[in-house]
Amino acid sequence: MSAESKMKPLTRRSCLRRAAALSLVSIMPLPARATPQTMQIAMESAFGDRPITPGRVNLDLPALAEDGNSVLLGVSVDSPMTKTDYVRFVQLFSPENPLPDVARFEFFPGSGMAEVKTRIRLSADQTIVAVAGLSDDSLWSALAQIRVVEGACLDGLI
C-alpha cells in the first residue's frame, strides 16, 4: 500500500507557502549568509589586527541541530575573575548567518565566573567563533562546528 497516494499531494512551493502562513519560516531565508568579507569586517571592527590565540575559551554547542531557530549555546572562559585578572568580554560570530554578529557578553570582577548560556539562531551548517578579551588586553578564541538540518519548510512539518 502507498500512504502517499491517499494524501493530498503538496508541492514544495505550496508547502513553503503553508509553512509561511503558519509563520514556521523564520530561519532567515535572505540574504543566505554573511559573506567572508562581512565576517572579516565584523572581526576587524571588533579587534583590529590584534593577535587572537586559540585557547582558554570553552564553546559548547550540539554537533547537530534540527531546529536552527533555537540552539542552546554555552560559553565559558578560564579565568580567576579577580579585580586585576578577569574576563572583560566574550563575543560570538556566526559566519554562515546573514549577519556575522551574534552577541557580546561583558563581565566584571563581580561576575564570579565568565560563563554564559543563551539560545541562538543558525541558518546553515557552520563553525561558530567565540573570542574572549581579558583584562590584560589579550584575546583568546574557540571554534565549534555545528550541522543544521536544512529546510525551514519541512522542519515544521515532519
Binding site: 494524501m7 514544495r12 550540539p62 539560545r119 515532519i158
Partner: protein, 425 residues
C-alpha cells in the same frame, strides 16, 4: 594484515568458542568462499526488513540477522497501549517468519565489531565474519542527560520510548492516578526516535483522562518549540481536550533540566512541577554497538553516504534506521523499512561489483489524535552527496472534517498491519 587466527588469538578467543560456531569454521576459508556473507545487526523494522529483502534479491548471499530478543515489540501504535486502547500482545511479533524466509537468526547480542578483520563478536564469544555489515541498532537512551534521570528513575518515571514493560508501566500508572491528578510529560529536543511520537502520546493520554478522569490534567514540557505536525496537533488538542492538555515550549522556559523520582518532581529553569505520573522521554543516540564499532560522530548518531547508507567513518558497514543520520528523512518505522529495502539493493549490487542504484525514497507517519482520529505527514527524499534532501512533502489538511480524520485512522491501521506482515509475517 593479520591472519584471522592471529586476530582471534590476540583477542583471546579460545578454541571452545570457535567450536561452537559453524560460521567461523566456514569463515576460515573466506578468501575462497563462493558465497558472500552479509551480517545484519538489529531485528527491528530496519534490520529484519533488510534481511528479508536481501534474501529475495541476492540468493547467493548468506544473510545472518543478529537480534538478542526472541520477540519484537513494535513502537508504532504502542501509544494506543499507553492510552488503554490496545493490548501489548498486538505489538509483539516472533522471528519465525523471518527464519522461514531463509534467514539465519542468531538470538545473541553483538558486543564488538572489528572492521579490519570484518568480524562481529557476539556475547557468547562467537565470531561472525562478513563481507558487508548492515547496522540497524536503533536507539539508546542517554541516562543522566537530564539530571536525576537514570535507569532506576525510569521505574518511577517511565520513558516508554522502547516498547515493552515500560509501555505497560506508563499505562498502569495512568490507570492508577486519581481523578484530578497531574500527568507531566518531558519531551526531548530533536533528533530522537519518532518525531511526532510524544504528541500522539499526549493526545492518547488526554483522551484517556477525558474519558476516565476528566478533572485531571496533562502538561507537556518540551525542550523545543517546533515539532512534527504541530498545527494539526494543536488544533486537535484545542478541539478535543481544551484545558485538559497544556503544551509549553522551550521559549517559555519549559525544557526539563532535572527530575527527582523520589519526590516525583520535574524542574525547569524557572519552575518545579510535582506530578502524579511523569513520562520522561530522555535524549537519545545511536545504539551502543554503533558506538563500539566507531560509526558515530560527535552528535552520537551515524553519518552515512546517503545513496548507499555506507558509513562515512568505517568501510563496508552500512547504517540504516533510527541510528543513521539520514536527514531530512525522519527516524520512523516507515523510513527504516524504506531505507532497508534500498540498502538491500545497494549491498547486493556492491557485492556484485555493480554501481549503486539511483532512486528516491518516501516516508509517511501517521499519528492518532484520539481513539479513532489520525493525521499524517509524508515526504519524498532524494539523495545528494551530503543528505537525503526533501523534494516534496505535505501533511493532512488543517480543518479537515472528522470523517477524513477517521479515514486516516483506518489508513494508519492498514499501514501497521502491512508493514508488520511484510517484515515479520
Amino acid at each position: 594484515m593479520k591472519t584471522r587466527r592471529r586476530v582471534l588469538k590476540d583477542l583471546g578467543v579460545g578454541a571452545g568458542a570457535l567450536a561452537l560456531s559453524p560460521f567461523t569454521a566456514r569463515a576460515a576459508d573466506s578468501a575462497r568462499a563462493a558465497r558472500s556473507r552479509v551480517v545484519i545487526i538489529g531485528g527491528g523494522f530496519a534490520g529484519a526488513s533488510c534481511a528479508r529483502q536481501l534474501r529475495i534479491i541476492a540468493q547467493d548471499v548468506d544473510v545472518t540477522l543478529i537480534e538478542p530478543s526472541t520477540t519484537f515489540t513494535a513502537c508504532p501504535f504502542s501509544n494506543l497501549v499507553v492510552g488503554g486502547l490496545r493490548r501489548l500482545s498486538q505489538q509483539q511479533f516472533s522471528y519465525r517468519g523471518v527464519e522461514a524466509a531463509g534467514i539465519r537468526v542468531v538470538h545473541r547480542r553483538a558486543v564488538d565489531v572489528d572492521p579490519v578483520a570484518k568480524r562481529v563478536r557476539l556475547d557468547d564469544g562467537v565470531d561472525l565474519f562478513y563481507d558487508r555489515l548492515v547496522m540497524a541498532p536503533g536507539i539508546e537512551l542517554i541516562w543522566d542527560a537530564l539530571e536525576g534521570y537514570d535507569e532506576a528513575a525510569s521505574n518511577r518515571m517511565p520513558h516508554a520510548w522502547q516498547a515493552g514493560t515500560q509501555t505497560l508501566l506508563l499505562r498502569d500508572q495512568l490507570q492508577a492516578i486519581p481523578n484530578g491528578g497531574l500527568v507531566v510529560m518531558a519531551a526531548p529536543a530533536s533528533p530522537y526516535r519518532c518525531p511526532p511520537g510524544p504528541y500522539e502520546r499526549a493526545s492518547l493520554i488526554a483522551a484517556y483522562l477525558k474519558r476516565e478522569k476528566p478533572r485531571s490534567k496533562l502538561l507537556v514540557l518540551d525542550a523545543k518549540d517546533n515539532f512534527s505536525k504541530k498545527p494539526l496537533f494543536m488544533q486537535a488538542w484545542q478541539r478535543l481536550y481544551g484545558d485538559l492538555l497544556e503544551w509549553r515550549g522551550v521559549s517559555d522556559g519549559a525544557a526539563v533540566t532535572s527530575v527527582d523520582p523520589g519526590k516525583m518532581t520535574l524542574r525547569t529553569d524557572f519552575d518545579e512541577f510535582k506530578a502524579d505520573v511523569a513520562n520522561v522521554i530522555p535524549p537519545q543516540r545511536a545504539g551502543m554497538i554503533a558506538r563500539r564499532a566507531g560509526l558515530t560522530d560527535a552528535s552520537g548518531w551515524c553519518p552515512i553516504r546517503p545513496l548507499t547508507f555506507e558509513s562515512r567513518l568505517v568501510e563496508s558497514i552500512h547504517v540504516i534506521g533510527d541510528a543513521a543520520i539520514a536527514n531530512a528523512m525522519p527516524k520512523s518505522a516507515y523510513a527504516a523499512n524504506a531505507q532497508a529495502g534500498l540498502c538491500a539493493q545497494q549491498v547486493a549490487r556492491l557485492l556484485a561489483d555493480k554501481p549503486p542504484l539511483e532512486t528516491t525514497l518516501s516516508n509517511a507517519c501517521y499519528s492518532y489524535v484520539s481513539q479513532d482520529h489520525a493525521i499524517s505527514v509524508a515526504g519524498v527524499y532524494q539523495p545528494d552527496d551530503t543528505a537525503w534532501q526533501a523534494i516534496d512533502g505535505g501533511t493532512s489538511a488543517l480543518d479537515a472534517p472528522d470523517a477524513v480524520r477517521r479515514m486516516e485512522a483506518g489508513y494508519a491501521d492498514e499501514w501497521f498491519r502491512g508493514i508488520t506482515s511484510q517484515v515479520f509475517g
